[in-house]
Amino acid sequence: MSEGLTWTVYDADAMTQAEIYGQVLCDLGQRHPEIVGLSADLAKSTKIGCFGDRFPQRFFNVGIAEQNLFGVAAGLAKAGLVPFVSTMAVFTSLRAAEQVRTDICYQNLNVKIIATHSGSSFGQAGTTHHCTEDLAVMRSFANMTVIAPADGIETANAVRAAFAWPGPVYIRIGRSFEPRFYDSEDYGFQIGRAIELHPGTDATLICCGVTVRPAVEAAKVLSQEDGLSVRVLNVHTLKPLDEAAVMRAVTETRRILIFEDHNTVGGLGTAVADVIAASGKGCAFVKTGVPDCFCEVGYPEDLQSHYGLDTDGIIARVRETMNLEFEADEDWEDEV
């Protein structure tokens, strides 16, 4: 993190997730004139507007036109620039899905996408603005790197790492009212490398985004109250997935629980399940998310609690899972 000092100038406590990334993008833009910014009448809401205020010549607000947004970004990348594009997750991954896939991913262009209001983070807006499908969609695009940071600090790291990483990157964040988790940026963030936030051998909670913080809290409570040793992995990068960390968790803890603010179809849980299935190892496996339905209306805290993604929900799910039967391989210990 050689550039680390530059990034601590902002006041992370007073800034939202998106404001932090806006600031980071401005700082990057200062040093890298090839960076351009784009939005679609959501420059203010997504906070990419600060880049626009700072570098008006390098910022394009295309109006409410997301397909055009990503097509133009593709063209800018073809012209040798590095576009950072920001609009809501639902309009990125669904409205403009084909532009992202065919114009950006197919041509393997260097476009960085920061998709806001993901999951149930804008829960009160209703289904048109919920986005519980984006991880599934984006993961399925070849060449795409998919990151779901835990908070604003991790978003800052992800934005910087995305700039240094070749090819298209999708960074999924919330509406920015999410609480902060990390104290500083210096915890060794690397694209594709899961982070163990709590050690454990009885079970592993695999999380990304907004579920990371409650999972760590749950692990602490379970240790105190139940004497359970619960590992927590922040799998901020869904693609490329840290398969080694997943398999270590399987062999060392044998119970895998996924928590994600996303449909249980196609997201983090599916990505992890693919790895485990291919390994031939058995383990207890439980996915918690929005269970293949359109999410209810409500404030995000209420929805997260409803879908079992808050601390209490996570604790309850771990307790249930401890009683789950699963077939253990006789030779298992030898292989660990």
């Binding site: 009448d41 036109a65 639902v90 829960g123 048109t128 209306v297 404030y299």
Partner: protein
């Protein structure tokens, strides 16, 4: 037929009530798209009180007229009007935005009686409205479809795909409105993404255009009457409106695209509406 003075007085009373309701629901909901709901008031009121053939007791009545509020973020105004029309109890709106409420900011047609299409993602409504209009034609039905677009929404290419098709299929049983309040989220439409000459664009796409003051009931009635009788081409009514209309501190202020109101602001907002109708 031109509106009578008595009709105009009645419509104004409804509009005033709707503005009060929008203010209240914004307060209850914690935050809502109040600016664009207020600009739409007269259009919604005249449609529901004067033109739509509907039966609130039978929201699924197959022969009813259809309305697609394509700028779905106007949900607070739309919901209030449906409640006042008798589709459901107004008091339910106290839970707007809250957990498991049927009312999110963008109304869900599966949950809210009287909503013909679930909207909120901009640029979908005109296509769905065209489908409904063609559906009427195919089935030999005489019901009419209305669609309300935002002006910023007209940035979306899909609006123009639908416009092209509406003219191509001569869907003259469809009346389209553009709520031309000249603001979107990031600023004035002409600064963020210029739309002008907007009327010429619609004409070039094969529409007959009427431009009216979208807060003037008589002008709206004349234009809607025209759209119902004109059979050479589909009609679009560009309704020149004021975002935040009726609340002095919101009018034409882009910051009031979306916002919350505390008790003080609610009182100020209502006092301003009171003045508008004094």
């Amino acid at each position: 037929m031109p509106l009578t003075d008595a009709q105009i007085t009645a419509l104004k009373a409804r509009a005033k009530q709707l503005r009060y309701d929008i203010i209240d629901i914004t307060g209850w909901s914690g935050g809502a798209h109040i600016g664009g709901a207020l600009s739409l008031v007269e259009i919604l009121v005249i449609l529901y009180d004067h033109y739509l053939t509907i039966d609130p007791a039978r929201p699924d009545w197959p022969e009813r007229d259809r309305l697609v509020v394509s700028k779905g973020h106007a949900g607070i105004g739309y919901a209030a009007l449906l409640a006042r029309k008798g589709y459901f109890d107004f008091e339910l709106l106290r839970d707007f935005n809250k957990f498991k409420s049927p009312f999110g900011m963008h109304l869900d047609g599966n949950k809210v009686r009287g909503v013909d299409a679930s909207t909120g993602s901009l640029g979908h409504g005109l296509s769905m409205a065209l489908g409904m209009a063609l559906g009427a034609r195919v089935q030999g039905q005489s019901w009419r479809t209305y669609c309300i677009l935002g002006d910023g929404e007209c940035n979306e290419g899909s609006v123009w795909e639908a416009a092209m098709a509406t003219a191509h299929f001569k869907a003259v049983n469809l009346t389209t409105f553009v709520d031309r309040n000249r603001l979107m989220i990031d600023g004035p439409t002409e600064e963020v993404m210029g739309l002008e000459p907007l009327a010429d664009k619609w004409r070039a796409f094969g529409f007959e255009v009427r431009e009216v003051d979208g807060h003037d009931f008589s002008a709206l009635a004349e234009a809607i009457d025209f759209s119902r009788s004109h059979t050479d081409a589909p009609v679009v009514i560009i309704a020149h409106t004021v975002k935040g209309k009726g609340v002095d501190f919101m009018e034409n202020d882009v910051r009031w695209h979306y916002g919350g109101l505390d008790t003080d602001l609610i009182a100020r907002a209502k006092a301003s509406v009171e003045k508008l109708y004094a």
